[in-house]
Symmetry: C2
Subunit: 542 residues, 2 copies
């Protein structure tokens, strides 16, 4: 026997309609590539999205057609989010930090038909345009006045012209909620990138969960600045959650340096931001150097990679900004866990509380997780046992686009490739990526713990820990370190810093200082590159 | 083209599983009919729910079977919420405040097979047992020691015995999310009560929306005491939202008087409560008389009927408790709107802010609303135009059980029977029930405004405004008033109080003082009874 409730599909367009009707005056502020600060209300943005949807139809985009973007966080990108998915096509957010060869591979693989790009990325477009097999139309996301005077690419369309040619009469179509809505490729460290195809249902459910008080906690009184790019897993869902809750959105465009961000935080009275640790490092360095404060920012959500505990303390103690650690994956839409404290943690002293906050946190309702040993046996939630983290839920991928990589699921669970523990309170902590774990004499050493200790040293700007070959132990930890500018730091001083902070046999066998650690397109340290670079490294202990 | 996300049905059992895994130690505290304060963890409660699900199967309950309850808010009722729906049967929460004839009608109409009841309600059971056509099994929600020694009803089963006979091995079944989960009858003022049949999908979606920061805003750090009964529209979804978020639950059982509630608020450190204005009036009277405070309670959600502005001010100014006005209906699961302020309202002075808070608020994402004139034309959102409020959304009913009352929807919208305005910010305000509106010379007078003014008079305990016959104007307002104990109040003094507070022609034509105003089973004033009682009333203006 079925319930007798209305049957209404969960559709992305309804998020924008809600914002338009209930938060019509709320603002979306964008620092644009043209250099200005642009303001638009949700009401006007919704009108533009409808015009854009009509323009897409005019370009021949049918339901299911892939429409690609190469764009920063900005209002036009947001209009594309809603116009493309809302009209039944699939929004494919390309990552402009990828090598042009990869852009070509991904756009071809996705069979993108139209590509919208920010002017910043014209060089990429010029490099790839002639090689793209399926893209028929290129649209520069700007107005007539800013269109490139001369370009190697012919027939560029102008975004604002497309909108101007349309009127506002458009009703969002209604269709099955399992319809594909958007597409994001994982920049896998091995093999070709693989596509994750989200649905309207998965996106709306993820948005509900992400906006909950113990996750992003978004309200109509929040001003949210997503530093996390809209080309990276839908900016962790913030473009959707802001419409669901009526929060003001502030888009930084290409200005992700400390000064640009801090200026925007202050001028727009941002209450909440979200991004990866590397960006925050730049921001904190700038704020510290200029003796600034955050006058309205209360919370920041840090994910992508683990937040160094030292950064968490700085945010909390020096700037009164609460850090919420979160964890997810492209394959997970992306949110899986958030580290909101429980009532009992509020009685802990600062040190103990930081130890909890350093974990990746509890599963948001909708996500189910477990850890398993190599034979697939579930391990206990005791905070000690570590195993591969497996997840399932309605916004977690079942397979990659076109079945690339085969069937990833194991008994209905998606293996994340992360190694983690889960404590009795359900707080998960990632100890490593399974491929980054250092296997020393049959025992595992988690590289992240070692990196966190190194990063807590006042003279260290960035640190990566990788496995180096050892004739007796197979692998031993090698620390790769970028020093802060202008400081002196010796191998011995840094290694001494580990004493008392970790089991003695976990102490790295060696330190190498480098000018920079290679970062991937989403800001993560590329440890496979480092392992390659230091393949021949001879440990002093060998 | 469909997305490639996991297909997982939204099932109520997953809420309890989530609480068990992530909030296993969190407590559910109940003041029980046996007189004790009972504590159980979500982990143990989940175990008991599984045993109960097995016991239900043992009683022959198949998917779709209706299992009824006549019970207060308490842990056993919560166990039934999850065990019944989780195992695929339908939880039918009977309202014990109904007349026994209505209980019989409803239980027969629903074809309930098993009825669980709190000991308090043994007299009702004894009155109706022999008349129930489909109920085969009666279960007293208590342990062996407290089973009634002698009863007119034979073959009573004991709840704790049922659980003890089972073991813990049970996996919640997986089925279609549109499956019926629970059933609640509206106590309509005309005709027989009609059943609203919720589904797993509608319940889970409603729970997500209800827990959002601008709705109930539930986190794992909250301690929530639902005063709103679990037999009334699932206690506004709190039993589900608490499991989704890991909030501590405190159940008051039958003790809804001011002292019992205040004691429990203080001893259990309640942060959040929810209920109808009449209960809060009792609580405030007690707290005021005894010069008490609320030391942990921060927020209360008031719905069911409009919160008198005077009550809102008292909570806010004297006790530091923020009042969130909410609105919904049995047909809406029930939440439709919540009156969370926007950023711009925070700059208003207290008086202007109360005026916003007095509205029923903005639609929670998922609910779509509009107001329409008698011809069905949509009216503007200008805060002035009033029309019938229409709603739609995935947790709003499409038809009543067994098609009673025909097809209620109009072009896919459910007509609420409320008359309301909506302002440019999307804040809805109910001005009346369409059947309670006073039609004076072709113009409408909203009875709720008049009642609010009367209730703001320091000598008035309760006030209802109804239409009385007038030979010239057809209808004119008549105020029915209950004075506070021991005060003197004249008709003239009260009518003078309206001067300057309302348009002159809205002023009531007469006042009658009564000892009590009849309340319905859910605490609402029964104005149809009053209209009957004062049908022959001769207005002095006539």
């Amino acid at each position: 026997m079925n319930g007798q409730m209305m049957q209404q599909p969960l559709l992305i367009s309804s998020l924008l309609v809600h914002a338009e009707r209930h938060h019509g005056e709320q603002q979306v502020v964008s620092r644009r590539v043209e250099g200005d600060i642009h303001r638009i209300s949700y009401r006007d943005l919704a009108t533009r999205a409808r015009r854009l949807a009509k323009a897409l139809a005019g370009l021949g985009m049918k339901p299911g057609a892939r429409v690609a973007t190469l764009a920063w966080n900005g209002h036009r990108h947001l209009e594309l989010y809603y116009a493309v998915s809302g009209s039944g096509a699939v929004l494919h957010t390309l990552n402009p930090r990828l090598h042009p060869d990869q852009v070509v591979y991904i756009a071809d693989h996705a069979e993108d038909q139209v590509l919208f790009f920010d002017l910043t990325f014209l060089p990429i477009i010029e490099a790839v345009a002639s090689r793209l097999k399926t893209v028929r139309t290129l649209v520069a996301m700007t107005d007539r006045a800013h269109m490139p005077a001369a370009s190697k690419v012919s027939g560029l369309l102008c975004y604002e012209d497309l909108l101007e040619a349309q009127n506002d009469k458009f009703d969002w179509p209604v269709f099955d909620e399992n319809t594909a809505s958007s597409l994001c490729y994982t920049s896998g460290t091995t093999g070709n990138p693989k596509g994750v195809l989200y649905s309207h249902r998965s996106t709306v459910l993820h948005t509900y969960a992400a906006a909950l008080p113990d996750a992003l906690s978004l309200s109509a009184r929040d001003v949210v600045l997503p530093v996390v790019p809209m080309f990276h897993v839908n900016a962790w869902g913030l473009p959707y959650a802001a419409c669901m809750t009526g929060a003001k959105l502030v888009f930084p465009g290409p200005g992700l340096d400390g000064k640009s961000l801090h200026d925007l935080f202050e001028s727009e009275r941002v209450t909440l931001s979200a991004g990866v640790p590397t960006v925050w490092q730049g921001l904190l360095t700038y704020v510290e150097a200029n003796k600034l404060k955050f006058s309205t920012m209360k919370r920041t959500i840090i994910g992508g990679s683990a937040c160094p505990p030292a950064m968490m303390r700085t945010f909390t103690e020096q700037y009164g900004v609460n850090v919420l650690h979160a964890w997810g994956m492209t394959e997970m839409s992306p949110l899986g866990t958030a580290c909101a404290l429980k009532a009992k943690h509020e009685e802990l002293d600062a040190q103990a509380r930081y130890a909890v906050q350093a974990k990746q946190g509890r599963a948001i309702y909708g996500v189910d997780m477990k850890i398993a040993d190599p034979n697939g046996n579930e391990l206990p939630w005791d905070g000690t046992a570590t195993g591969e983290l497996m997840v399932r839920g309605p916004w977690i991928m079942s397979e990659y686009l076109k079945g690339e990589g085969g069937s990833p699921l194991v008994d209905g669970w998606f293996p994340t490739g992360d190694v983690a523990s889960i404590d009795a309170d359900g707080f998960m902590q990632i100890t490593d990526r399974s491929k980054d774990v250092i296997k020393s004499g049959g025992e595992w050493i988690g590289s992240i713990d070692l990196e966190n200790i190194a990063m807590a040293h006042p003279k260290v700007a960035m640190a990566a820990c990788i496995a180096a070959f050892h004739p007796k132990w197979d692998e031993r930890p090698l620390l790769v370190v970028v020093k802060k500018p202008g400081v002196e730091l010796s191998r011995e001083e840094l290694l001494a810093f580990f004493e008392g902070r970790i089991a003695k046999w976990w102490t790295p066998d060696d330190v190498v200082f480098v000018d920079a650690i290679p970062l991937g397109a989403t800001g993560k340290m590329l440890k496979n590159r480092l392992r390659e670079q230091f393949r021949g490294h001879k440990l002093p202990t060998a």
